[in-house]
């Protein structure tokens, strides 16, 4: 099924993978900076780090055009950065400051950057699935050649919109790729304990959406599979990608995740997707110093973003009354 450049072995497309390695490091360090800020009560709302899942975001979004569309979930920082959003604007959004991607009005769970086709994270699990189907529906009605990628978690497959949205995409033959990030958990619950049947891919196929199952921690297979599926999607067939991964942090930055053994987490750290790419690039002959330098740069960039966000002003109070709706006085009857 994978197509395009063969990448393992000698003729690896080095630049492509160095760029993706950098992208993954930037997401990792963005999350680390955000967690630090949350611990310090500089980021006040809940944040859901995507540490350990970077290969999915980067591998999929790396095959998208700027004018393609993605929708994400509460765990949306990685997808948003991978689609090209500005890290500082995102950090400011998490800090609730002026110049945030949504002017500080949405925060982490509603992170969005319409400039780069990122139509929003969502605070309601699975709600983005129907919205994404509709975005693809509009693309088809307008006769455009964009595609939509809809990211969601393994817990989202137990909500009605999973059935309604996939059926919709199948009935109307929409240009959409559904990407299920199976990290094994729905908050503090092991998803499989609350899921009947053979899981996301089996459900998708029963709804007429062909599915591929891959190791979501293997950047190469995410990259190649996504590229192949997106080719089909751009030709007008909805497809489904199940990426198996693992949530290395707690559900939120404040969740100690005491419900799973430390040993399990330690084992999973051995399968850190960023280290895996690093190894591939080392094998391909990139000096580790260069790779470490890329990681250090990413870290420095996000620390700067943290400091800059911290030093940024709050939004203008008047913004509270902006962008509600064009008519009607929102102050009416209030005070």
């Amino acid at each position: 099924m994978p197509s395009g450049e063969p990448v393992r072995g000698s003729n690896l497309d080095i630049d492509r993978y160095v760029a993706r390695f950098r992208a993954m490091c930037r997401i990792r360090e963005f999350e680390n900076a955000a967690i630090k800020a949350a611990d310090e009560k500089l980021v006040l709302g809940a944040i859901h780090p995507s540490i350990g899942q970077e290969a999915v975001a980067v591998g999929v979004c790396g095959n998208l055009r700027r004018d393609d569309i993605i929708l994400s979930t509460h765990r949306g920082h990685g997808h948003t950065m991978a689609k090209g959003a500005d890290a500082l604007a995102m950090m400011r959004e998490l800090f609730g400051r002026a110049g945030g991607t949504s002017q500080g009005k949405g925060g982490s769970m509603h992170i969005a950057d319409f400039e780069v086709g990122m139509l929003g994270a969502n605070g309601v699990v699975a709600a983005n699935i129907n919205i994404a189907a509709g975005a693809a529906h509009a693309i088809k009605l307008k006769g455009e050649d964009k595609v939509v990628v809809c990211f969601f978690g393994d817990g989202a497959i137990n909500r009605g919109p999973f059935l309604e949205g996939l059926n919709w995409a199948g009935v109307f033959n929409l240009p959409i790729l559904f990407v299920c990030e199976d990290n094994g958990f729905a908050a503090t619950t092991r998803t499989n304990a609350m899921t009947s049947g053979d899981g996301p891919a089996a459900r998708a196929e029963a709804l007429g959406i062909k599915a591929e199952i891959i190791d979501g921690n293997d950047l190469v297979s995410v990259d190649e599979t996504a590229r192949a599926l997106l080719d089909e999607v751009r030709r007008g067939t909805p497809r489904f990608l199940l990426a198996r991964t693992y949530r290395l942090t707690g559900h939120t930055s404040s969740d100690p995740a005491a419900y799973r053994p430390d040993t399990e987490v330690q084992d999973r750290w051995l399968n850190d997707p960023i280290e895996a790419v690093r190894r591939i690039l080392q094998t391909a002959g990139i000096p580790d110093g260069d790779l470490q330098a890329i990681w250090d740069e990413a870290k420095a960039e996000m620390q700067d973003a943290y400091e800059t966000a911290k030093a940024t002003d709050w939004p203008e109070k008047s913004l509270a009354y902006a962008d509600v709706q064009d008519i009607g006085d929102p102050r009416q009857g209030a005070f």
Partner: protein, 325 residues
């Protein structure tokens, strides 16, 4: 001026707006065959199945997909069939459509029209008869339209389709066959502008949707008794025409609100409370509400009628307010 029925006026508005703007499309169950009440009859022939689109029985996806399609620059009209079924799509309407523009800091707009036929329709029982307009008026980000005449149905539906924010458009099922004059010009309604149905100096009756006609009959009865009613049809509940109501109550000194919906926490409470807050000094009598008791709607006609706000109930309440001088 042509005479059209309420349902024909809506069809006309839809056809006119779909001709004007290729981004306008409608989606819902059975639309290809004209929709459950015939609100879309014939439109598929002119606009095709992509723009008069059938849908699976998937209310939450009909609504949710429309949100995504609206954010991508199209102007969807979703048909909920009965407003009661829109309760299967509340997250999509309230958490998503109503909040997207704000939550994303103005990066996007959701030009969406949600058609929700409301109200009692002989023996439709508890799950096909509700009037929940007060709910949507309570939600920031939503416009709420409740037209009572063919002319308003056309003009307000056109305004809803042209609105860049989500509009909950509530047509009353009992009004589909109602006929009335509709201007030949391409009039587009204005949200928040009430209509004075008749003028009078003794009391103000504020109402909307089908109840406007019940109130008009009551006003007729009252007129024969020498009680002159200033009858106001709000047309939209958000925004609602506070100034028109204040102006009228300023002249009459009496406010009676009549609504088909359950009175408790109904929109009538908002109107009565607002007038009581701002016009206390001008009131010659206490403000007064009429609405349905807090019971589900029954199937049997005799029981269904128990929740109706009748012409007689309105006239009696008005009489009492005017005579208790």
């Amino acid at each position: 001026m042509a005479v059209l029925s309420y349902i024909e006026a809506a069809r006309l508005a839809l056809a006119e707006e779909m001709r004007r703007d290729p981004m306008v499309w409608a989606v819902g169950e059975d639309l290809g065959r004209g929709g459950v009440f015939g609100q879309y009859k014939g439109l598929i022939d002119e606009f095709g199945a992509d723009r008069i689109s059938d849908a699976p029985i998937s209310e939450s996806c009909i609504m949710g997909a429309a949100v995504g399609a609206a954010m991508m620059g199209t102007r969807p009209i979703v048909e909920m069939r009965f407003s009661d079924f829109a309760l299967c799509a509340v997250d999509e309407l309230v958490n998503q459509a109503a909040k997207a523009r704000y939550m994303f800091g103005g990066q996007t707009r959701v030009p969406l029209v949600v058609r929700e036929p409301i109200g009692m329709w002989r023996s439709s029982a508890a799950q096909h008869s509700q009037s929940l307009e007060a709910w949507y008026a309570h939600i920031p980000g939503l416009v709420v339209a409740v037209p009572s005449t063919p002319a308003d149905n056309r003009a307000l539906l056109k305004a809803a389709i042209r609105c860049d924010d989500p509009v909950v458009f509530m047509e009353h099922k009992n009004l589909w066959p109602l006929e009335g004059e509709v201007p030949d010009n391409d009039e587009v309604g204005t949200f928040g502008k009430a209509r004075t149905v008749r003028e009078g100096s003794d009391l103000t009756i504020v109402t909307w949707s089908a109840c406007v006609h019940t109130a008009a009959q009551a006003a007729e009865t009252l007129a024969n008794e020498g009680i002159e009613t200033d009858l106001i049809d709000l047309r939209t509940l958000w925004p609602w025409d506070r100034e028109a109501v204040f102006h009228s109550v300023g002249r009459t000194g009496r406010l009676l609100v009549a609504q088909e919906a359950v009175s408790v926490a109904g929109f009538g409470a908002e109107i009565a409370a607002t007038v009581a807050e701002h016009m206390h000094g001008a009131l010659k009598a206490p403000v007064r509400r009429l609405g349905a008791p807090r019971i589900p709607i029954s199937y049997a006609p005799v029981l269904e009628d128990e929740v109706r706000v009748t012409k007689d109930a309105i006239a009696a309440a008005a009489r009492k307010m005017v005579n208790d001088r």
